[in-house]
């Protein structure tokens, strides 16, 4: 069975500082990994994905994520956070060989203070 862990319920950073949101995954086959962002009372917006190739992937709004196979991690990063980045972030995994579904973590609430 596939699963995702987001070890931090909340992350607080000052505007202009680097932002990191952690994610580890478990999957039997090769993973497809995703990050989504959710604003209050809204649906999920796709940020970026890792399918294959370069371990560092770049996505929307200046976000990037690094795939680390040995540590089974896919941490989301942004070099300089903005107040508008305050939202709920979800990591998700899919076992492309076995599943059509995405399995999501519990989410991490990011608060960026001015």
């Amino acid at each position: 069975a596939q699963s995702v862990a987001q070890p931090e319920d909340q992350v607080n950073v000052a505007e202009g500082n680097p932002l990191t949101v952690k994610c580890t995954y478990s999957v039997s086959g090769n993973p497809y990994l995703f990050w989504y962002v959710q604003y209050p009372n809204r649906g999920l917006q796709f940020l970026l994905k890792y399918i294959t190739g370069d371990n560092l992937v770049k996505g929307s709004y200046g976000f990037e994520a690094e795939f680390n196979k040995s540590q089974t991690s896919f941490h989301l990063k942004k070099p300089s956070a903005l107040v508008s980045d305050s939202a709920l972030y979800f990591c998700a995994v899919r076992d492309m060989a076995k599943d059509y579904k995405l399995s999501f973590g519990a989410g991490t609430t990011v608060t960026v203070r001015a």
Partner: protein, 115 residues
């Protein structure tokens, strides 16, 4: 380019009632997935429809059923509502084959409250 649209946006039902939620996928997409997001939790997979068939199902009881129409739109039906069914129901669309790299495109959701 229209994204994923869901209706209704909010609804209130009482225990034991039945509800139908509707979803139109993003233009060009042929696959619809439904997720339940309880308050403070991540989305949980209910099922996925492709070519008008349920292709995969999550750990939800038979009270949850669905349908996909020839135009790829979809419905989620929940019978005999329980208080625990109160949640945000998210519809997501994608390509079911060829060109599918896995990402889902989500609608804004339908907020169901069961009293």
């Amino acid at each position: 380019d229209a994204g994923v649209t869901q209706s209704p946006t909010h609804l209130i039902k009482t225990r034991g009632q039945q509800v139908t939620l509707r979803c139109s996928p993003k233009s060009g997409h042929d696959t619809v997935s439904w997720y339940q997001q309880a308050l403070g939790q991540g989305p949980q997979f209910i099922f996925q429809y492709y070519e008008e068939e349920e292709r995969q199902r999550g750990n939800f009881p038979d009270r949850f059923s669905g349908h996909q129409f020839p135009n790829y739109s979809s419905e989620l039906n929940v019978n005999a509502l329980l208080l625990g069914d109160s949640a945000l129901y998210l519809c997501a669309s994608s390509l079911g084959s060829g060109g599918n790299t896995g990402e889902l495109f989500f609608g804004e959701g339908s907020r169901l409250t069961v009293l």
